[in-house]
Structure formats: structure tokens, C-alpha cells
């Protein structure tokens, strides 16, 4: 569809990159509001309680969580690399880096399950105290979004193989993926480390 230009306004083209970006920004602000609400609920519960980690575990297994954080940061980095390579028209390499991102995303999920298993084996369950409930709720919800993100990345991988013009798809998937990294960092700092 051609752009109609008048003296005052340039009309947007249907399906252009900025329109989709705006849609994605609204979606992401919605998800951000969801996590903000849950994190403030966590803050209130935590401030009110006398001893927060009252169960069998006094702190989270930090080594495992750190590895996990590095993995997801690395995945954001590889995705960034992929989009840079796409801009310099190196499509094949770009695809490789998207595959790396998918693998790192799956690694993150596996490590997260490992973290859950370590904790539950030590009797740290969702029903034993508020700290456990908050931890499993936030990390679980984030994990669900990561699963959606991985599906998006797999879809992007197929899309790039099939079509030539995938700048928009790449940008939107990237926004979603980097956003999840940021959310994880916030959860990691506020729930696990703090």
C-alpha cells in the first residue's frame, strides 16, 4: 500500500515496523505491570515478616543461580549478535546465533528446573513458607514467559529460512527476549540475592 502524503500528515503504512513495535511496547508494558504488582506484593510480605527465610534453607544456592543468570545474559548477547550480523547481511551466521540463543534459552529452563529440584529436595516447597511461595511464583511465571520466548525464537528461525524480509520479526522477538532477561535480573537481585 502506498503512502499518502498531505501537507500535514504522513499516513502510516499498514504492517510497518514502527506499528508493530508500538504494539509490542504496549504488550511489554502490560507484562511489566504484572511483574511490578507481584514484586510489590513480595516487598510488602517481606517487610512485614520477622524472619523471611524461615524454612530449612537460609539462602538460595547462589552458584547455580549465578550460572543461570550468566546463561540468560549470554542468550541476550547472542541474540544481539544475530541482529547485528543480519544488518551486515550475514544471514547464515545470523541464523547460527539465533540457534545459540534457543539452546541457551533451553539451558536456562533446565538449570531453573535443577534449581527447583535442589530446593524441593531440601524441603523448600511452595507451601512451606511465604519465601518459597514467592520464589516459585515469580520464577515459575518468568519461566512460562521464557517458554513463549523460545517458541517465538523457533518460529523466527523458520521464518528467516522461508522469507527474505524479516527485519520486523527479528526486532519484535528481540524486544521480547531482552525484556525477559531484564525481568530475570530484577527477580535475581530482589528475590534471590537480596
Amino acid at each position: 500500500m502506498e503512502t499518502i502524503i498531505t501537507n500535514k500528515f504522513k499516513r502510516s503504512v499498514r504492517g510497518d515496523s514502527f506499528t508493530s513495535t508500538l504494539g509490542m511496547i504496549i504488550v511489554l508494558s502490560s507484562i511489566a505491570m504484572l511483574f511490578i504488582a507481584l514484586l510489590s506484593a513480595y516487598g510488602i510480605l517481606r517487610v512485614r515478616s520477622d524472619i523471611w527465610m524461615s524454612g530449612s534453607i537460609k539462602s538460595y544456592p547462589l552458584t547455580l543461580s549465578w550460572i543461570n543468570t550468566v546463561v540468560i545474559l549470554l542468550s541476550s548477547f547472542t541474540f544481539n549478535k544475530a541482529s547485528k550480523l543480519f544488518e551486515s547481511n550475514n544471514n547464515k551466521k545470523s541464523l547460527n546465533f539465533i540457534s545459540f540463543t534457543i539452546i541457551l534459552g533451553i539451558c536456562f529452563l533446565i538449570l531453573q528446573t535443577q534449581l527447583w529440584l535442589v530446593l524441593t529436595n531440601d524441603g523448600y516447597s511452595i507451601t512451606s513458607h511465604q519465601a518459597g511461595a514467592v520464589f516459585y511464583m515469580l520464577s515459575g511465571l518468568h519461566g512460562l514467559h521464557i517458554i513463549i520466548g523460545i517458541f517465538l525464537l523457533i518460529w523466527l528461525n523458520f521464518y528467516i529460512r522461508k522469507y527474505d524480509d524479516y527485519f520486523k520479526q527479528m526486532k519484535l522477538t528481540g524486544m521480547f527476549w531482552h525484556f525477559l532477561t531484564i525481568i530475570w535480573l530484577v527477580i535475581f537481585i530482589s528475590v534471590i540475592i537480596f
Partner: protein
């Protein structure tokens, strides 16, 4: 988007056309409006004829046959379920689909002058998610323990398994609401993006009809605050099914540190913007209609739009006024009271603008105008009674009484409902290509306006006398004896109100089948949707119009022969 041939399925069922999706939302909304309205009749029957069998005309031969208190009798548990589902259905399944779903979808692309929504497939997904939510909600009635019964607010401990109401009704309620919220979010993403990106050339923000302003602000509130209730629902769902105790406190709690008030805060951070989510499209529609039927440009158009923006911003800061009696710090209470009372300033601005629009106008009392005028009356009353609820000293006495019920029925129910009716009567010719019967419309108006005022006004009287909002049998209280007769009066008029809505339903269906064919612009309105012929093709406009005028170009002295000019016509 060309006007190509489509199969039946892709044209009427899984359509990506915003007009079809809008109509789908309209049918869904009207169905649930009737459903929720019928529940209101049952509630009224139970309040005035407590523990008496339902008569045949309230389906007494079919409903409550296995009731533990006797055949055809509404027991206390059933009563709790009734008022819970009445509130939930009316707010999330009737008002939201009609005002935001139907009008939003139908009007936004037509009024801003574009072919369709920004993301048509997402739009379709939005309706079908809503449909799924409706099925989950209705399925909860099939549970042996019945549906949710914790009130539409679902405060813990009523809604949590520890010390709450038994059964899985609450779980279904939570899931259904999550799905409905997701559908609303998809709609919001579409509406905001479409309005920001696809206004026709020349259509600046301050040339948009006020209906679009209302829908735009509603969508912003939806995008930001529906996720908050999602957070509350997640916490509630985990308490219900995973055994966490986020919202459980006191002796029943096995884990220390849970807090039922946490849910109340989360609920009302969403809940107060929600009432503006419901009413903003109504305000917009009424502002436009008053101008059309006064044959005058809307008075203070910019101030109306800006005051609606101010209310949108303030609505997120006032949730505490729902919780004065929860023992919050007096300083916090006063802050919330101040912010709440501040809302009356922008409200008064656009209310005065409405009066200014009417002033010296050539008022035409068509059916949509009657409903638009009645919105001014009911919203005026609802808004004024809001001041009492916002003031701590008055509210501590009035909290949770029928005064509050009367107040929010005047604002949320009556204003929004009448705004919705005004819109349906007004845009019916463009939606279905037919005129609605005017005589039946006027009968519907009077059968709505008079009974509704008698019912809701007396609610406030009873609330002032101390009638609690959720008691099952008011006759057991000594202090309510003097006002009990009002309950019978309200019930009688509630039934009249119900019959009035049946007239609307009959008029609606028969006008679609046998109504008089409508001309292109029956009301002489200047917004863009009236420049296209019915049936509107899939791509709406033959070529995208260029906008030269504001949305309310009536009685312009430069125009000869007629008193209106379309937004896309050059003077």
C-alpha cells in the same frame, strides 16, 4: 484490503473484519446483559419475598429444583452465588463487551478513517478468547457446589479455601476472569496502536470524535491496569490450587505472613481504574451525541478531552477510598480522600461542557438523545453521591451499605447502560442498515428511566437506613423494619425495568429482520462513519478520506442547504 469474496466461515465466524468482530461482541454482550439482568430479578425477588418459591414467570418451575431449602426457593448459598455472578457478568461480560468490545471495534477504524484495525488477527483472537472465557464462566454453574460465591470482588477469606466457601466455583471464576482480561488486553493493544498510527490524513488528535477519545483512554487504562488484577488472580489461584497462603492470615494460617488486605490493595489498584474503563467510552459517546442532536459543535471540545485525560491519570491514584474501613493510617486515608475529591473538578468541567452544548441548541428528542440526556441525570446523581463515599467521615458509616450499591449502580450501571443504549440506537443504522422502531424505543426509554431511578434511588435510602449490601434476609433486623416496604416497591419496579429491556431485545431483533431501511446519514452527523454506504465493504472506504473539519461541524453559517458538513468535506 480489497473487497474480495469470502466463505461463510471467514465472513461471519472467524472474521478478521473489525465490523463483524464488533457485532460479535455486541451479541455476546447483549446475551450476558439479559443473563445478568435476569439474575438481578432473582436477587430482588429474594430480598422482598425471602424464602418464598419463585413464580412461574421467574422460571420457578425450572430453577432451583434441588435447592436444599425447598423446591424453587433461593437459599442463602444460592443468593451469594447470584449477587457474585450478577456483578461479575454485568461488569466483565456485559458492559465491557458492549462498550469497549462492540463500539471500540466498530467505531475506531470507521471514525478515524482507516481500513481495519492495526492487527486484525489479534482482534479475532481477542473475541474468541472472550468466548472461551464465557464458556469457562458458564461451566462453573455445572459444578455440584455451584459457581463462585465470594462477591464480585472475591475478597479473601471468602474466596480462599482456608476458611472460605467450599467448591471449585472460585477456581473457575478466577480462570474465566484471567481469560477475559487477556481478551481485553489484546483489544487494548489493537485500539491504541490503531488510533496512534492509522488516523486518516488531517485527523489530528483534537479532531477525533470524543467517542474515540473515550475508547483511547479506556484502552490505555486497560493495558496498564488489567495486568494488576492478573497478578491478584495469580496469587488467588495459587492459594486455591497450589496450597500457598499468600492471602491467609490469623489462626487458620499454617504459614505466617500472609495478608488478605494484600488482595484488596491489588484488586482496587485495578478496580478503581476499572470503573473509568467502563464509563469513559460512555462519556465519549454521550459527548458526541449531545452535539449531534443539539445541532451545535460540542462546547469546550478540547477541555472535555483534556478533562477526560486528567481523570484517566487521577484514576490510578485513588484506590484507597475503597478501603477506609480496613484500618489504614489516617494520613494515608486523607491523601486518598483528597485525590478522590480532586476528580470532581475535571468531572464538573465536562459536565458543564455538556450543559454548554445543550445551551440554545436546536434539540431533537430522538431516542439516542433521550438516552444521552438521561445519562446526564443518572451520572450527575451518581457523581454527587460519590462525594459522600469519598469523604472518610461519611464513608465509615456508609461503607458496605446499599448506599454504595445505589451509588455504583447510578454511575457504573445506569450511566454506562444508558450510554450503551444511546450508542446502539445511534449506530444501529450503520451496523445493520435498518432503523430501529422509534415508538418502541421511546417506550423502552421510559420503562428504563423511571423504574431504574426508583430502584437505585431507594437503594441509597435503604443504605442510609443501614441496609448492608450483602445480607440474605433483611427482615430479621429490627432497625430495618421501618424501611422494609421499600424493598417490595423496588422489586416491583425492578420487574418493570426488566420488562422494558425485553422490549429493547424484541425491537433490536425485529428491526434487524424487518426494520425500515436506513438512509446513508439518518441523523445528519458529521463523523466519517456516515460517509460510507451500508453494507460497508471489508476495506471500509473506497479511498482513505482526508479530514478538514472537526468532529462536530453543525450549523456552520458558511454551509448552505443543510446544517451539517462531513469531516472530510472542504468548506
Amino acid at each position: 484490503m480489497s473487497n474480495h469474496e469470502q466463505s461463510f466461515m471467514s465472513k461471519y465466524i472467524f472474521s478478521t473484519d473489525h465490523k463483524v468482530i464488533g457485532k460479535q461482541f455486541l451479541w455476546l454482550g447483549i446475551f450476558f446483559l439479559m443473563f445478568g439482568g435476569f439474575m438481578a430479578m432473582l436477587i430482588r425477588w429474594s430480598l422482598s419475598h425471602n424464602m418464598q418459591p419463585l413464580p412461574w414467570w421467574l422460571l420457578g418451575d425450572i430453577l432451583y429444583q434441588n435447592s436444599p431449602v425447598g423446591v424453587g426457593i433461593i437459599g442463602p448459598d444460592a443468593y451469594n452465588q447470584l449477587f457474585t455472578m450478577h456483578g461479575t457478568i454485568m461488569i466483565f461480560w456485559a458492559i465491557t463487551p458492549i462498550l469497549t468490545g462492540a463500539f471500540g471495534n466498530f467505531l475506531i477504524p470507521l471514525q478515524i478513517g482507516t481500513e481495519d484495525m492495526a492487527f486484525p488477527k489479534l482482534n479475532m483472537l481477542s473475541f474468541w478468547t472472550m468466548f472461551l472465557a464465557s464458556i469457562v464462566l458458564l461451566a462453573s454453574y455445572l459444578l455440584p457446589t455451584g459457581t463462585a460465591a465470594g462477591g464480585w470482588t472475591s475478597y479473601p477469606p471468602l474466596s480462599t479455601p482456608v476458611g472460605g466457601i467450599p467448591g471449585y466455583g472460585q477456581v473457575y471464576w478466577t480462570l474465566a476472569l484471567t481469560l477475559a482480561g487477556t481478551a481485553t488486553l489484546m483489544g487494548a493493544v489493537n485500539y491504541i496502536t490503531t488510533i496512534v498510527r492509522f488516523r486518516a490524513p488531517g485527523m489530528g488528535y483534537f479532531k477525533m470524535p470524543l467517542s474515540i477519545w473515550g475508547l483511547f483512554l479506556t484502552s490505555i487504562l486497560n493495558a496498564l491496569f488489567v495486568p494488576i488484577i492478573a497478578a491478584g488472580l495469580i496469587v488467588l489461584l495459587l492459594d486455591l490450587v497450589a496450597g500457598t497462603q499468600f492471602l491467609v492470615a490469623g489462626q487458620k494460617a499454617t504459614i505466617p505472613g500472609g495478608d488478605p488486605l494484600l488482595y484488596q490493595h491489588i484488586f482496587w489498584i485495578f478496580g478503581h481504574p476499572e470503573v473509568y474503563i467502563l464509563i469513559l467510552p460512555g462519556w465519549g459517546v454521550v459527548s458526541d451525541l449531545l452535539s449531534v442532536f443539539s445541532r451545535k459543535p460540542a462546547f469546550g471540545y478540547k477541555m472535555t478531552a483534556l478533562s477526560m485525560c486528567t481523570i484517566t491519570a487521577l484514576s490510578g491514584l485513588v484506590w484507597g477510598h475503597h478501603m477506609y474501613t480496613t484500618g489504614m493510617s489516617p494520613l494515608l486515608g486523607k491523601a486518598f480522600m483528597f485525590l478522590t475529591l480532586l476528580i470532581s473538578i475535571p468531572s464538573s468541567i465536562f459536565f458543564l461542557n455538556w450543559l454548554g452544548t445543550l445551551w440554545k441548541g436546536a434539540i431533537k428528542l430522538e431516542v439516542p438523545m433521550l438516552f444521552a440526556l438521561s445519562v446526564m441525570w443518572v451520572f450527575g446523581l451518581g457523581g454527587l453521591t460519590g462525594l459522600y463515599n469519598a469523604t472518610i467521615t461519611a464513608d465509615i458509616y456508609l461503607h458496605d451499605t446499599y448506599f454504595v450499591v445505589g451509588h455504583f449502580h447510578y454511575t457504573m450501571a445506569a450511566s454506562v447502560l444508558f450510554g450503551g443504549f444511546a450508542g446502539i440506537y445511534f449506530w444501529f443504522p450503520k451496523m445493520f442498515g435498518k432503523r430501529m422502531n422509534k415508538k418502541l424505543g421511546i417506550i423502552h426509554f421510559w420503562m428504563s428511566f423511571i423504574p431504574l431511578n426508583i430502584v437505585f434511588f431507594n437503594m441509597m435510602v435503604m443504605g442510609y437506613a443501614g441496609h448492608h449490601r450483602r445480607i440474605f434476609d433483611p427482615s430479621v433486623f429490627e432497625f430495618l423494619k421501618p424501611v422494609l416496604q421499600l424493598n417490595d416497591l423496588m422489586t416491583t419496579f425492578a420487574f418493570l425495568l426488566g420488562i422494558g429491556q425485553l422490549i429493547f431485545a424484541i425491537n433490536f431483533v425485529f428491526s434487524i429482520i424487518k426494520g425500515k431501511k436506513a438512509e446513508k446519514n439518518p441523523w445528519g452527523a458529521s463523523t466519517l462513519e456516515w460517509t460510507v454506504d451500508y453494507p460497508i465493504p471489508h476495506g471500509n472506504f473506497e479511498s482513505i478520506p482526508t479530514v478538514y473539519n472537526g468532529p462536530h461541524e453543525y450549523s456552520n453559517p458558511k454551509v448552505k442547504n443543510r446544517d451539517w458538513i462531513s469531516q472530510s468535506e472542504k468548506i
